[in-house]
Amino acid sequence: MTKVKRDPRNRIRRSFGSRLFDGINIILLVLLAITCIYPFWDTLVVSFSSLKSYLSTSVHLWPSEWSFEGYQFMISNADLWTSYANSIFITVVGTVINLIVTVMAAYVLSKKDLKGHRVLTFLAVFTMMFSGGIIPTYIVVKDLHLMNTLWSMILPTAITTSYLIIMRNFFFDLPHELEESAMLDGCTEVGVLFRIILPISRPSMITIALFYAVDHWNDFFSAILYIMDNSKWPLQLFLRSMLFETEASYSSSASLFLLGQPMKMAAIMMAIIPIMLMFPFFQKYFAKGILMGAVKG
């Protein structure tokens, strides 16, 4: 598929005012972006700094003395890779399940002429406000025999209601002429979903998938509650426990805790970078929205 710029705004010769507007707009956005990158950069720099270099300044733009000890320490632990595998499993399978369940439900609930859609939506929204708390949920997980399985970190969060509502709204906003013409051509409602709606909803599905994926990736508390074996720990829990400071941790060779903050930042980077690598993938599909004119009725 060749990328054709369809944006009609490009065809008009731009006035000076329009260009000034663009200039200021871009400057503001870039400044904003820089403030957003800074903490990430700071963390990254500290993770590669020696303790000395970290302590010598409060603004970290570049390591004055490099150190890879934090990363070396983490990588030398064989359990790291197991926990990576667990996290990838939870994130990939979890997100696929999230997406399937959420998209199906959101599509049905977006049908304003389907009986019961309002009541059902209300019942979903109700759970955003009211919950039974941690104990009954624990009992459910236990009774379903999900304890100490990776599924305990997937199934209890199969839907996040706010994402369901956002997804449903994206479906609302799609131009319905497409659907109607497809229906006239003899497509069923389900057929419309798969043939028409899903292809043009890629940006919104990808957005929701990203949110779900990040949530799964960052989850550690359900692992504390439900997972017993170290071999089933997700990455976040593994990294947190590596940094967990107690009496026993000081019994290891003292050098580990001499690394101090840089070591902690290295752990944080190791948790962030894999999920950030998803971004280009996300961007690729995000851009292929309806704007590409790929599906025109």
Binding site: I224, S231, L237, E247, A254
Partner: protein, 519 residues
């Protein structure tokens, strides 16, 4: 579309395969090779499964299956031990599991909290007195160290109070700064003020800039204290938890005579700029960093096993710096103090759901016995260590195969529930700086101030933290000049008493009198 579907199908397939693998490969609970060990020894009875849920010490080495220490315990006691150490020592997991009816046989939670109190009140854990005859070590542990921990002579758990008989905090200072300003480690509050003033105003690091300050600490908190507790102790605060009025009645500690003068002293330090203005933003790490960065000359700091860590960190930026510690400064009548005696810790119980409670008691007894202690510290003779007279040689290679911490430190099972190096007075000879570490403990313990009442009463458990919170709020407001000290102290008393303090005091008074009668 077809492409996407294929990808999803593939992912699902991969996921299923992976999960199957993960499940079969998993199951590495710390149950050890119990079946073989137990059977070969006795053969006459099946080992009793004992499941122990504990916060333990999550940073200890992970216990792999087939751990020889667990196997040894199993064969000695005829049990099949399954230990679950909660990640991050997260006590919420223990509380939730218990509250959800997911009972282990033996459980270790946090002493002096609503959760463990609830276990007792609701009959979820059994009385231990019935097992005392068969298990003398457990009996001795409770009756010698924690006789106050029961109600009406009934004990429901084995407490392990942190910082009960020893402490490890001292105020550390920059010796090189003291030398530069021609002073020595302060012995009195007046000297302390002079030192902090010199650290702030006399350019102790000689860099020609006014960029240093005398003192900083962690932000005041319910759990961590005010950061200026040494001042209150120097002004004659006798106990860590409460105080006595002239009639011998229990009153909140801040109603003691020295409170207003002590507050005035602290406020003077604050107003004169001798204290880090951003003290309120400090956590433990930030506090230490400011010391390492040469921005502040004195901090209260954890020592003992951290002596080397503190010193080496300081040397990162200042290789020639030196660190000094000593007893905290004294007040006019010679009183001093820095550390409070602990009232919190661990609490190990046998659940009512436990099938073989006698065996569970036997297991706890083993854990607190000398025999158990030796096994968990040293391991098996001939395998984990060799003994030549009094000299013990560790075999680190063998120890690393089981869950021993390196450099002669104990097995993972030991840490936490019944055992910390400080409280258990244990430090292997391998530790660098051993002499100085022990010296700091001696000093810190000398600067530890006892509690008036050893236990936490039920209302103290219920309301203690919200009352402490009121104090912290008033303390900060007085310090920052939002409220004048005398008026603040008066208002604090009224508020504290009206918000549940009054009833709590009555209960504490009763406990105090009972304690007196018992002694």
């Amino acid at each position: 579309m077809k492409g996407t579907k294929k990808i999803i199908a593939l992912l699902l397939a991969a996921a299923t395969a992976f999960s199957a693998a993960a499940c079969s490969g998993g199951g590495q609970t710390a149950s050890g090779g119990a079946a073989s060990g137990g059977a070969s020894q006795e053969g006459n009875s099946d080992p009793v499964p004992i499941k122990w849920l504990t916060t333990g010490d999550a940073a200890a080495e992970p216990i792999e299956s087939g751990d020889r220490i667990i196997t040894e315990i199993n064969s000695r006691l005829g049990i099949n031990l399954e230990v679950q150490i909660v990640p991050e020592g997260n006590v919420e997991k223990v509380n939730v599991a218990m509250a959800s009816g997911d009972y282990p046989d033996v459980v270790t939670g946090a002493y002096g909290t609503s959760a463990t109190q609830g276990w007792i009140d609701n009959g979820m854990v059994v009385e231990l007195n019935q097992f005392f005859d068969a298990n003398p070590d457990m009996k001795a542990w409770i009756e010698n160290d924690y006789p106050w921990s029961g109600t009406d002579g009934k004990y429901y758990g084995v407490p392990f109070i942190v910082q009960y008989n020893s402490a490890n905090n001292l105020i550390i200072m920059r010796q090189d700064w003291l030398d530069n300003v021609g002073l020595s480690y302060p012995k009195t509050l007046d000297e302390m003020r002079a030192v902090l003033e010199a650290f702030t105003n006399e350019d102790p690091d000689g860099n020609g800039q006014n960029d240093t300050v005398g003192y900083t600490a962690e932000k005041p908190s319910n759990t961590g204290g005010t950061g200026f507790d040494w001042v209150f102790f120097a002004y004659g605060r006798e106990y860590s938890d409460y105080a006595l009025d002239e009639n011998g009645n229990v009153i909140p500690w801040f109603e003691y005579d020295g409170f207003v003068p002590a507050m005035t002293y602290i406020k003077d330090l604050w107003d004169s700029g001798l204290v880090d203005k951003e003290l309120m933003l400090n956590d433990a790490t930030k506090k230490e960093e400011k010391f390492y960065q040469g921005r502040v000359g004195a901090i209260p700091a954890v020592l003992y096993r951290h002596v080397s860590r503190q010193e080496n960190s300081l040397h990162e930026l200042f290789p020639d710096a030196s660190m000094v510690y000593d007893l905290p400064p004294t007040g006019e009548d010679g009183s001093f103090g820095l550390n409070k005696q602990g009232k919190n810790g661990m609490f190990t119980c046998i659940t009512a759901a436990c099938q073989n409670q006698a065996k569970a008691a036997e297991f706890i007894n083993f854990m607190v016995s000398d025999e158990g202690n030796e096994l968990l510290r040293l391991g098996l003779e001939g395998i984990h260590y060799t003994k030549d007279g009094d000299t013990i040689t560790y075999n680190e290679e063998e120890r690393a195969k089981d869950a021993f911490s390196p450099d002669g430190w104990a097995h993972a099972l030991a840490w936490g529930s019944f055992y910390w190096p400080l409280e258990s007075g244990y430090m292997p000879d391998t530790e660098p700086n051993k002499e100085r570490a022990l010296e700091t403990v001696e000093m810190a313990t000398e600067a530890q101030v006892p509690n008036l009442v050893k236990q936490k009463t039920p209302l103290e458990i219920e309301n203690g933290s919200s009352l402490e919170d009121i104090f912290i709020q008033y303390f900060s407001d007085m310090l920052q000049g939002k409220i004048e000290i005398e008026a603040g102290a008066k208002e604090l008393s009224e508020k504290w008493r009206s918000q549940g303090g009054e009833e709590m005091l009555k209960e504490v008074q009763a406990a105090y009198e009972a304690q007196g009668a018992a002694e």
